[in-house]
Structures are given as C-alpha cells and as structure tokens.
C-alpha cells in the first residue's frame, strides 16, 4: 500500500510536468493544425534559462528562497515565451500558406537545429549539468510515504498555471480570439482578429508553460542536458494525442495518465525496462477505440 501511494505521488509529479508540456503541443495544434516538434527543445531551453538565471537572481535574493525561485521561474518563462515567438516568426510564419507537411518537416528541422547548436561546446556543451536547488528542499515522511517539497511545488505550480491558462483562454479577449482562430481562421480574420499576433501569443503562451515544465523537471530530477527535451517532449506529445489533440483539458489529463502509467510500469521488476513501451502501448490501445483521443471530438471533414 505504501509502495502504491509512493508510486502514485511519483507518477503524479511526473505527469504534472508532462501535462504542462502537452498543453503547448495541443494549443499550437488547435490554432495551426500542425505539431511543433521544437516544443520539447523549448522545454530544455527553459531548464537551461533557469540554470543560468539562478546565480544572477541569487546576487539580489538569498539562494534557495521561495521569492528567488519564483523570480527565476517567471523570468525563464518570459525568455522562452520570447524564444517561442521568435521560432514561429522565423521558421513557421514564412510557411503559413504552404502545405502542412512542409511546416511539420520544418519543425523537425528547428528541433534538430536547437539540439545540435546547444550541444556545441561554445553553447552549453553535451555534458549534463547539475541543476541548483532553487527553493529550500524538504522531505515529509507520512507513514512510509515520502513527499518532497519539490513534488509539492510541481503540483501547486501546475495547478496554478492550469487555472491561469483556463482563465486566459476562456475569460479574456485574447483567449476568445485564440478560440476563434482555432475554430475558423478566415472567419476570425474577417471579424477583425489579428491572426499573426494571436498565433504569436499562442506560441508564447505554450513556450512559457514548457519553460515552467523544464524548471520543475530540473528541480525534481537534479540534472539537465541539451537532449533532455527529446524523450520528455515525445512523451508529452503522446500525452496530448492521448487526451485528444487540440483539447486543453485532454492534454492535461493525458499528461497525468502518462506519468502515472509510466511510473507504475517502471516499478515492476522485469517490466521496468519497458516503461516507455508500456506507456506507448496503452496509447495505441486507447486510439484504437477512441481515435480522437480521450476527450477529443471526432470531426467529420467536409469534402
């Protein structure tokens, strides 16, 4: 029982991070109908932004303080939001009216470009780095179950960000415009919505969430490297498809389920090697019975 609860906590903490990244994939898909494969690398850049910002912030605020941690998080999110917008303007906007396949392949190119540039020794280098403790680390023992302060931070931050995202998308003018663009781009343009700035905003928002995910991931697992976004990004992408791509609550749910399933599979001797495989197998199973994902709606295409 203790083991079950512990694995559940581990899985939820991992899943919460997947959820944050999955939201970025699903939002971009919602408005542009393509998968931004460079999203996992923005997640990595977020972690590195935190790594380099932390000593700068510590000059003003004491190390391992909540205020310092929050400032690092917010700054990294802002930097990655800007990077996300830049990627969209440089790589995707010129291809806006080309076939979707062209954009998709460009996205893979952007992803490889970021990964290999960052591995160059003049940038970050390929060696893993130790991520600093941003906040004071504590472990609470509840019976045999250990809950770390980092895990609590992951849950709290994810919930806050999800609530903020929901508010932005559902209650604000720009969120309404985002939904309008997702629903019908041309009609939205005719209603006076500035398509370019809305798409930029979507990329910025998604990238900020990925950056938050990157920092939470780095805080929880202590080491970062330029290829950390590859596997994590792939899992989050799968989580987004799993929950129903284009559907925001679906992405969050998909992320949490992925994290929990993967963790439970990882804890079984003999199966631990296949933890990624099992998560993907379940995805295939779900997609056979619900091709649009858990919460996705099947859209009939008019010919």
């Amino acid at each position: 029982m203790t083991e079950f609860l512990q694995q559940l906590i581990n899985g939820l903490a991992l899943g919460a991070i997947y959820a944050l990244i999955a939201l970025g994939y699903t939002m971009v898909y919602g408005v542009l109908r393509f998968i931004n494969f460079a999203h996992g690398d923005v997640f990595m850049l977020g972690a590195f932004a935190g790594y380099f910002l932390s000593p700068l912030v510590n000059r003003v605020l004491p190390a391992q303080s909540y205020a310092g941690g929050i400032i690092v998080l917010v700054l990294a999110m802002a930097i990655c939001a800007a990077l996300g917008m830049l990627i969209e303007i440089l790589a995707y906007r010129p291809l806006r009216n080309r076939p979707k396949l062209t954009v998709l392949i460009t996205a893979i190119g952007v992803s490889l470009f970021i990964e290999y540039t960052c591995q160059h020794r003049a940038v970050f280098g390929a060696a893993p780095r130790n991520f600093p403790d941003l906040i004071p680390a504590n472990n609470w023992h509840l019976g045999g179950v250990v809950l770390s302060s980092n895990q609590v931070i992951v849950f709290v931050t994810t919930l806050l960000l999800l609530a903020a995202l929901r508010f932005i998308v559902q209650r604000t003018k720009v969120g309404t415009a985002m939904r309008a663009v997702a629903f019908n781009e041309q009609a939205a343009a005719l209603m006076g919505v500035n398509i370019n700035s809305i798409i930029s905003f979507t990329f910025g928002l998604g990238s900020a969430l990925a950056a938050a995910g990157g920092i939470l991931f780095a805080m929880n697992y202590a080491s970062i490297d330029p290829l950390m976004g590859v596997q994590t990004g792939l899992k989050a992408f799968v989580a987004a498809v799993f929950g129903g791509i284009g559907n925001l609550p679906g992405a969050a749910l998909g992320g949490v389920i992925m994290g929990v399933v993967e963790t439970f599979a990882g804890g079984i001797p003999g199966l631990s090697n296949y933890r990624d495989g099992i998560a993907f197998a379940i995805l295939i199973g779900v997609l056979i019975f619900r091709p649009a994902g858990l919460l996705g709606k099947v859209q009939t295409e008019k010919v």
């Binding site: 060696a127 893993p128 250990v146 202590a222 963790t263 439970f264 804890g267 001797p269």
Partner: protein
C-alpha cells in the same frame, strides 16, 4: 518584408551548417617530426563530449601525457609518436565512423580506445577486419576482446570486477539481501550486473529486487520506490556516473538508506558534483588510486599534475597512460609498425611495469590486474582496500 526574412532564414541555416560541420578534434598532439623518419601515427577515439565526457577527457589526458613523455625520451624505433584523436560524443554510431576514418584516411598503425564497452564493441570489428591492433584503456566488458585476436585491453574484465564488488558487499558490508539496478542500454552495465549477481548468489546472498533503467533517463523514482519496498541491505548500481549520481540523489529523496555500490563507471568528479551529499559514504571499485602504488605511479601523479594544471589523475587517466605504454612497448619489441607484428608483440606483453600495476596480457588478450575499493568521503574518494586477482 518577405525577402529579407527569407535571406535571414538562409543565413541562419548557413550558420547552423557551419556549426555542425566544424572540424571535429583531429588535433595532432605530442610533438612533430623530431628524431629521424616519419612519425608513427596512433589513432585514438574517445568520448570527449557527452554523457561519459569526463571519462573520455581523463583517459585522453593520460594518453597525451604518455605520448609526450615517450617522444621527449626519443620516441619509439627512433621515430616520434603522433596521436590523432577523434571524439565519439558518447554516442552510439560515432565510433564506427571515426575509427573507419582513422584507419582508412589517416592510416594509423594502431587504435587506442574507448572507455565505454559499448563503443569499444562497435569499433573492435572494424579494427579486427582491417588488421589494425586496438588497445582499449578501460573497457571492462569481457566481450570486447572476444571480438578477435587484434583486440586488447590494459584493464581487468568485469568478470573479476563483479567478483570483487560482490565479495566486498557480502564480506565487508555483511549484506545478505541486495537489489540490483542495471542500465540495459549499456553493455558494460549488463555484463557487470550479471557477474555481480552470480558471485553474490554464490556467496549465499539473495537478490531481492532486480530493476532496469535506460542510461540517460532522468526519473528513477519509480524503480527506486520498488527497490525501497524490497528493503535490501545494499544496492548494486553497475552503471555510469551521471546516472549513478542521479540515482543516489533520488534514493535519498525517497528515504532509501541502504548503501549503494558501483564499479569503475562511477569514478568521475561529476559523481560528487551532481550527487553532492547523496553519494557520501557510497562505495565503488576501480583500477587504481593515487595514494597507493609503485614508484612509477607516484611519478605519474606528479607529472600529470604538472601537465594538467594540478588536476589529480583518476583511474581512467592512469589506464589511458598505460594503454600507450603497452602499445609503445609492443612497437619497440616488434621492431616495426606492421599490424601483424605489433599484434604478436602485444600478445606477448609480460610483466610490463605500468601505473596501474604490472601488466601481463593473458591468452584472452586481457590484463590481469588488481582492483581497489574506494568510498566517497567529504566529496573525495577514500582508498579502502586492494583486491588481487
């Protein structure tokens, strides 16, 4: 608007291409053509960047030091040694590419490398086929030298290391129940895990949990939670330092207090840098410790510190140094740079005094040498005991 943007895009692509194709590290080191004749070209493939970078760099530094010392003393057969080094980036696939390049394009007479068994196993068939002798400084998986009669190593094998680790845990730590946590992506880890397990079971111990991970993973909590539930007296982690450090950190977070024990894959300053207080008091076995050893190894420590800005040599550096000693000795005895003759001379290496001990190459083309057990204390590696084969 569209045109300048496009040209900017192209220039970005151009810059990225330049970055990607910038020449590797084909830096010849260790003197030019001092004493008569063409220099003898020796190739090295090493993980100078990536996951096992600190291993590759240490090994490379030891290798360079040995080459420079030999050249300063007049070289081999009256000719200087010229080292050509290629980086494998700690990645599968790279060794084949760079070793082919060293043999085909640069025409090296012998190959040195690598630290990681998986990557040595990738290069070994190429060297065997081209009949170019290969000397691995610190690949311990037994399969490496089984590839063929042109493949040698100057370190012990995991068969021996597995026995050493298992005996230490059953006898010195008095552990009865152990868990084993293997990196299934690495030939080194899989091989060592098997030998540790066999010996530990023979010693009367039981393995209460066997879990796997993939090298490069970041999240180990799922497996560690299962290990904790099995309540072992000790946990074997026969992996590399990056993963081992993260495993110790996450085990500590989960309140798993059993000692962790590893092999020579642990010895790197990154272990304590990433692991911090979580790796304190953990144990691992390796090839050598600067505190114990012969006159030659004391001299080596001194020269190494002088050459590399006061850095204390680790076991990988010592093995890298020894790989050059063994090769140079063989070339000298062969009296030629012919691949076949160097091979025969390498196979006949006997009682060669080297930094990590006296090296005799046995019939399996492995070196029979002692292992040392170290413990992490105050972020340093403390010598505990030496185990003779």
């Amino acid at each position: 608007m569209n045109i300048p943007l496009k040209s900017f895009l192209w220039s970005t692509v151009a810059v990225s291409l330049v970055l990607l194709s910038s020449p590797g590290c084909n830096k010849p080191s260790g003197g030019g053509d001092g004493a008569g004749g063409e220099p003898i070209k020796v190739g090295q493939f090493a993980s100078l960047t990536g996951k096992e970078a600190t291993f590759g760099i240490s090994s490379d530094e030891g290798t360079i030091l040995a080459i420079e010392e030999i050249n300063a003393a007049g070289g081999v057969l009256g000719r200087q040694l010229k080292l050509l080094t290629e980086d494998t980036q700690s990645k599968a696939g790279e060794p084949a590419t760079v070793v082919n390049k060293l043999i085909a394009r640069d025409g090296v007479v012998a190959i040195l490398g690598e630290v990681a068994s998986s990557r040595s196993l990738e290069a070994a068939p190429i060297c065997q086929q081209s009949k170019v002798p290969m000397v691995s400084p610190s690949s311990t998986n037994p399969k490496v030298t089984q590839v063929g009669d042109y493949i040698f190593r100057v370190c012990y094998t995991d068969k021996f290391q597995g026995d050493v680790i298992a005996n230490f845990v059953s006898k010195s730590l008095k552990a009865k129940k152990a868990a084993i946590f293997t990196d299934v992506k690495s030939d080194y880890s899989k091989g060592l895990a098997k030998y540790i397990k066999d010996k530990f079971l023979t010693n009367g111990g039981t393995i209460v949990a066997e879990l796997d991970f993939n090298g490069g993973d970041k999240d180990f909590k799922a497996q560690l939670t299962a290990i904790k539930a099995a309540n072992p007296d000790a946990v074997f982690v026969p992996g590399y330092y990056t993963d081992a450090a993260l495993i110790c950190v996450q085990a500590k977070q989960l309140g798993l207090t059993a000692p962790f024990v590893g092999g020579d894959g642990w010895e790197s300053e990154k272990l304590t840098e990433i692991g911090k207080d979580a790796v304190e008091n953990q144990y691992f076995s390796t090839h050598y410790h600067p505190d114990v050893g012969s006159e030659l190894s004391k001299k080596f420590v001194e020269n190494y510190k002088k050459r590399w800005n006061g850095k204390t040599p680790d076991a990988l550096a010592a093995c890298g140094y020894d790989s050059v000693l063994v090769l140079a000795d063989a070339i000298k005895r062969a009296g030629s740079t012919d691949g076949q003759k160097i091979r025969d001379a390498l196979a006949a290496t006997k009682d060669l005094q080297a930094v990590t001990g006296k090296i005799t190459i046995d019939e399996n083309r492995d070196a029979n040498k002692a292992a040392v057990i170290l413990q992490v204390k105050d972020g340093k590696y403390k010598y505990l005991e030496t185990v003779e084969p």
